[in-house]
Amino acid sequence: MPNVYISSVIPVPVERVWSMIRDFNGLPNWTSFVMESRIEEGLPADKIGCVRAFQLQDGGFIREKLLALSDYDYSFSYAILESPMGVENYIATVKLLPITDGGRTFAEWSAEFDCASAREDELVAHIGNNVFQSGLNTLKERVGA
């Protein structure tokens, strides 16, 4: 099972980063590749099991289900229900850890999934670079880091 792991140091306190990313419907606020997002069936964005449906800048359409959310651990997990990427059993986790030294944040974004074996390297690179690293880079800008 391929997996992707990207992590970074964000030079602002963990509470500030968490307040930006906690909103499961808030991808347009802190990524550059999501155009618009909504939560299906009018559910609250922090209800476990809710589904976000969003449109990418490049036109792709993705639906993801919230599996877990923890304010205590600054962490959430989600699964892809529908996407143009050709992945199955895709589960991703975003987690923040405080860096007490300097009041900074350690951010991790990871995923595991299945796909056609010939596409593994391409998908790992794409998700790692164009989704996770790109997302964390934009997040750093948006939190004023």
Binding site: S7, V9, P98, I99, R104, Q133
Partner: protein, 492 residues
């Protein structure tokens, strides 16, 4: 219950930080608050349940037990079992995570404990500042010093000029000559090393003479060296500029003052092992490790017959086999070498005499024979070795000092249902995982004095011909190493 949580980012790859932290008994070498530390009951430092027993520089004594350790998660957990400082029910966790967009390391150190009434703040501050924060600072300084340039040339990665011993055609020691060489800037997966000590092994003579085809002239011989990392290429995550490293592996090319090579089989050296000792023991010690632990697993009570017990590998085999509980019989050629073998732990020594080797072995063992035989002699000894084996014994033929072993009749092995092994160093040491497992146990054996290193002869690199003549002429005892000429001038 008090919770103390501290975390930081260290500007070094996670493997470098983990290599330092995972040694549960190594904190007296890096933490400023720890004076001396030992592990109770002879347990390994990475054995779950091991207790480190240490004294702080301020005088207090503490015993802490390792509760869990994970190389996969870069995590360990430990508890205080006894302490002069009243930290009660203290359980702490150390966790490392890679910062992938900077090749740095996130380090979290947390604990929970109870305190006597009124001392909560004092003890929490002691743990947070006196232990965790000062530990962060010490590791930061240590990893920084590892990457501090050791010469101005390190400011940018570039090729290095040096000297190497070349061979233009197979032949005698006179074919070795000294000439300038260039170690290029390291490419992806490569490391550039400024070498400080080079091991000389019998295999180097076989490469020079053409008996082995590992060296195709023109080329540079040598399989083993130690030095300082000058630069690393991309994708090298386990080595740092300025770090002390060693290797013992093909391809040949170690007879040089500078070298750029594949980094996968190059590993950091522990602090307690100096450069010259490391160059004297890496290849021979790694051989001894897989001979007694992997090719054949020596068990307590076995009888081991070891040829050339005064030689480089043979002496280590005697020490290690004795430590593992074997009765060791050395087979050698002179009373002088017999003394070396006895000092290395041989319980009995056989010399050439009126009776055959097998008869002497049978007399010593009450007709049992040897359960395992380490035979480095080859052609002249093979038949005697088979005759000296116990039923279901194991003949490990790992050398050919007397000449090519040639074709043999395996039917003779049926006389005692023998097992025959013919191990090749390269097959036991060709992946980073194998090398890590072997060197971990080798370094531990050296640190615990299970084996000892005897540097018998030190030559300047430019005297490589003389080093080969001495080794071929059987004039050496102990290990032979060479030192780059400019360093030799500095030390002698």
């Amino acid at each position: 219950m008090i919770t103390v949580q501290r975390s930081t980012v260290i500007d070094a790859p996670i493997q470098v930080v983990w290599d330092i932290l995972r040694d549960f008994n190594g904190h007296d070498r890096w933490h400023p608050a720890v004076d001396t530390s030992v592990v109770d009951d002879g347990k390994r430092t990475d054995q779950i349940g091991a207790v480190r027993n240490f004294r702080l520089t301020s005088g207090e004594k503490i015993r802490e037990q390792l509760l869990s350790l994970s190389d996969r998660d870069h995590f360990f957990r430990y508890a205080i079992v006894e302490s002069d400082i009243p930290l009660q029910n203290y359980v702490a966790e150390v966790s490392l995570k890679p910062v992938t967009d900077g090749n740095a390391t996130y380090w979290s150190w947390t604990s929970r404990f109870n305190s006597p009434e009124g001392r909560e703040t004092e003890l929490a501050d002691l743990v947070a500042d006196g232990v965790y924060e000062s530990g962060f600072a010490a590791i930061r300084a240590r990893t920084q010093s590892l990457i501090t340039p050791v010469s101005p040339s390190l400011a940018t990665e570039k090729s290095l000029e040096g000297v190497a011993i070349h061979v233009d055609r197979h032949g005698g020691p006179e074919e070795l000559y000294s000439a300038p060489v260039m170690a290029p800037a390291p490419g992806p997966g490569e490391v550039q090393i400024r070498q400080t000590a080079i091991g000389v092994n019998f295999i180097d003579i076989y490469c020079r003479s053409g008996y082995f085809d590992l060296l195709k002239p023109p080329g540079v011989p040598g399989m083993e060296a130690v030095g300082i990392v000058e630069a690393v290429g991309t994708n090298v995550r386990h080595l740092l500029r300025g770090q002390r490293v060693g290797y013992a592996c093909p391809p040949v090319g170690a007879y040089a003052t500078v070298r750029t090579m594949n980094a996968a089989l190059v590993f950091p050296l522990p602090d307690f092992l100096d450069d010259q000792t490391a160059a004297a023991v890496l290849l021979k010690g790694m051989s001894a490790e897989f001979l007694v632990h992997r090719v054949h697993q020596i068990k307590k009570g076995e009888i081991a017959l070891i040829y050339a017990p005064a030689g480089g590998v043979g002496r280590l085999l005697c020490q290690w086999a004795k430590h593992l509980g074997a009765t060791v019989i050395g087979a050698t050629s002179s009373e002088e070498k017999a003394r070396v073998a006895r000092a290395a732990g041989a319980h009995h020594v056989i010399l050439p005499g009126s009776q055959s080797l097998e008869k002497q072995v049978m007399d010593i063992t009450g007709d049992h024979g040897a359960d395992v035989i380490y035979d480095a002699v080859g052609r002249d000894s093979f038949a005697h070795s088979v005759a000296a084996l116990a039923t279901c014994g194991h003949l490990v033929s790992y050398g050919q000092a007397s000449g090519d072993i040639g074709a043999r009749d395996i039917g003779s092995l049926a006389s005692v249902s023998a097992t025959l092994s013919r191990p090749n160093f390269g097959h036991y040491t060709d992946t980073p995982e194998k090398v890590a497992a072997i060197t971990t146990r080798l370094f531990e054996a050296i640190e615990r004095h299970v084996i000892s290193v005897d540097i018998g002869n030190i030559f300047s690199l430019s005297q490589a011909s003389d080093a080969h003549r001495a080794l071929e002429g059987r004039k050496t005892t102990g290990s032979t190493i060479m030192i780059p000429d400019e360093l030799r001038k500095g030390t002698s």
